[in-house]
């Protein structure tokens, strides 16, 4: 290969890497910041975090939350039924702050990574999630200290406070 071609390849790869790093790193995205905003509702906090970590509404689109709240009697194999008033209040809160109603970058990207004809119930099934975690092996997710890909807070210490930034990640042994 000629010297100038090698140089060209080198420059291209460096700039591509830089671009990739920049897109995954800090910085303000399409308005609203890169992190999901802190939102809160007492019933959501109490009811949705007694069996599992508290998932931010901005992690799934409204249609996903609607489907979730309509099927609480068969919630990932568990009966998580609520009284109608509590269910409806939490449902409204989730819809209002869902990924397609948010203007932060993370929610936007999650939303855009889901095909319009799909209504995922698992965040870990979205293309956004799988591409962000492609270096994490299935065995790592199965570690006792983690449990499954649903347990964000095992590695993302700030997950329940909607902070998923790279600097807060620590993968337990």
């Amino acid at each position: 290969m000629k010297k100038w071609m090698q140089l060209l390849v080198l420059i291209t790869s460096i700039s591509a890497t830089t671009a990739l790093l920049a897109s995954g790193g800090m910085g303000e995205g399409e308005g609203g910041g890169s992190q999901m905003p802190l939102v809160t509702n007492a019933k959501w906090k109490a009811e949705c975090a007694s069996c599992h970590m508290l998932y931010h509404p901005g992690l799934l689109p409204e249609r996903s939350w609607n489907k979730m709240m309509a099927g609480l009697d068969k919630h990932f194999g568990e009966n998580a039924s609520l009284d109608a008033a509590t269910r409806d209040e939490i449902g409204r809160f989730l819809a209002l702050n869902s990924a397609d109603k948010q203007i932060n970058r993370r929610s936007n990207r999650i939303n855009l990574s889901i095909a319009a004809n799909l209504t995922p119930l698992r965040i870990s099934e979205t293309r956004y999630f799988t591409s962000k975690h492609d270096e994490i092996s299935a065995d790592t997710f199965k570690r006792k200290s983690i449990g499954s890909a649903a347990n964000c807070v095992a590695c993302h210490k700030g997950a329940e406070k909607s902070d998923f930034s790279e600097s807060q990640i620590k993968i337990p042994r």
């Binding site: 975090a49 007694s50 069996c51 599992h52 970590m53 568990e78 009966n79 998580a80 039924s81 983690i146 449990g147 499954s148 649903a150 347990n151 095992a154």
Partner: protein
């Protein structure tokens, strides 16, 4: 006079219902279970901490094919923290360690409803609930 009588009756009824709705202590809740048990079964002889302990530990085969018991998530010692299947910490069940336990009837009934169904695939009897509470109260 008549009005005041009606008012007093109303207050008495309201008090009665409010006690039923919000037991403030596990002991009060146990009393409620006791009167409920007497109503349901004339031969009711009382609650037993020993029966509650074996109820808590007894394993059964779930229709999904796994052996389960209360202990699966709560650990064998109610003074310990447990863990849900989704890796969330469950605070200790024993009121001596966790005074928040059995102070909110709606919460208690919600979780008996879910967990009895989850482990036993049926609702729990008031005898079972009382035995279990008696057992937890005996744990110091």
């Amino acid at each position: 006079m008549r009005n005041s009588l009606i008012r007093h009756t109303c207050v008495a009824w309201a008090l009665l219902f409010s006690i039923n709705a919000f037991a403030a202590t596990p002991q009060e809740l146990l009393k409620q279970y006791e009167s409920q048990a007497k109503q349901e079964d004339a031969k009711f002889t009382g609650f037993s901490a020993d029966k509650g302990a074996s109820f808590f530990k007894e394993e059964r085969m779930h229709s999904k094919g796994k052996k389960v018991s209360c202990v699966t998530c709560h650990t064998a010692d109610p003074r310990n923290q447990g863990k849900t299947r989704a890796n969330k910490v469950i605070e200790p069940m024993a009121p001596s360690i966790n005074p928040q336990r059995f102070t909110d009837v709606a919460k208690v009934e919600k979780w008996f409803g879910r967990n009895c169904n989850d482990v036993l695939e049926r609702t729990c009897t008031v005898q079972e609930k009382g035995d279990y509470l008696q057992f937890l109260l005996s744990v110091k």
